[in-house]
Amino acid sequence: MREMARRFLRQKLGSAGTFIALGLMAVIAALPLNAGQAFSGLDTVAMLVLAAGCVSRDAASGALQMILSRPIRRIQYLAGRYAGLLACYLIFLGSSVVLAITLGQIVARLSPGPAPPMRPAADFARVCAAAFLQGALLAAIVLFFSTFLRGWGDVLAVAVFGILFGSLRTLGQALRLPAVARAGELARDNLSPSVPWDSVLQGQRVFGEPTGRYILALLLYWTLAAVIFSRREFSYGQD
């Protein structure tokens, strides 16, 4: 599993395109972070860039077939990819924070008046932890889709499902069909739950319904991914 995680890190950080894209996003994310805000959606984009084709591209290139020809459990491969993905994401979050702190110090030195107060380290840690936990769920969703969809289909499926849940709710409201709107809401809340991490990480409503939804969704996607992946046949040249 550890080797699979290392392999993922080598693949992602060794690719110039991904490296530059992540670097740029880290720089852009540093600006709102320095201003006392969260990642403003860039964390989600970064996770999608990292997770795109995490299993499917290995299958398409034939690398997966090579790996599975050795005595390694499929679950170990899957767990390794997931761990690598989270490690890459953690590097992105860490880089953004380091850049935000550096930016804050540069601004403090250049500004003529009294230096603005620095954002507390605990605040940075909380924002990062919130982004990491929400990213872990997104990674599990992409991993699940990646076990049976081809190419970039995994990221596309995440986007399509997000739009579908949102539009169901809007459609239900527009057509005055509460049942449709409720179905959209239920689907979004349970299949792609959002947790108020800021409050939870400060010890408020830790065992609230959003946390329950999050843990169940995370394990559900993971179990489904493991079951589907363990039953799939990967033949050379299928893609």
């Binding site: 020809s69 050795r70 499929r74 409050s199 409503r205 609230g208 946390t211 394990l219 363990s230």
Partner: protein, 184 residues
């Protein structure tokens, strides 16, 4: 694909070189632990839903919410203004107000000690329309956004208003000003 022997295939390239050479049992087997964890998560999900529902039914957090319809008579009895919290289930800032503002012991003490707090939950999105008393209150106080906090005397006259929620400090300031205006 169930059991692969050490000598099966030797893959080229350095990236897979460190893969272990022996595996016990089926390669495709999904660990049972995963299913147990999923079952535990399912139970936890049910438990949190029940706890949340109980919490909502008995009044969220530390604030002692009164039924909206009974609030004006309670205000007249205790000589305190009513604090209406116009909220909605889908409103994200409203949840922040719940978890951050109303969950603050200091703010809850001010609210419980100086106002008759009443929560008015909008259901128009979910049910298509609101109960008559909610629609009437929203019309009277021209509520067009959530959360909206209205402080009114027992006759229903508006004393203070705050739309939206940004921070605990701003909420505390609003409550202090409203308390002063009401003459408490």
């Amino acid at each position: 694909m169930d059991r692969i022997e050490e000598s099966a295939v030797s893959p080229p390239g350095p990236s897979v070189a460190a893969i272990p050479t022996r595996v016990q049992g089926s390669q495709s087997r999904v660990p049972r632990l995963l299913f147990w964890l999923l079952a535990a998560a399912f139970l936890f999900r049910i438990e949190t839903a029940i706890l949340d529902r109980e919490g909502k039914d008995s009044g969220e957090g530390l604030v002692h919410w009164q039924p909206g319809t009974a609030a004006p008579s309670a205000a007249a009895r205790f000589h305190r203004p009513v604090l209406y919290d116009f909220t909605a289930a889908w409103c994200v800032p409203c949840h922040l107000l719940d978890s951050e503002g109303w969950a603050d012991a200091g703010i809850a003490a001010i609210v419980n000690g100086s106002f008759v707090p009443a929560r008015v939950v909008d259901r128009s999105r979910e049910d298509g329309s609101n109960p008559v008393w909610i629609a009437e209150l929203q019309r009277r106080y021209s509520v067009s956004a959530f959360p909206t906090l209205i402080v009114a005397d027992s006759s229903g006259r508006e004393i203070a208003r705050m739309e939206g929620y940004s921070s605990r400090e701003k909420l505390a300031r609003f409550l202090a000003e409203a308390k002063n205006k009401a003459g408490n």
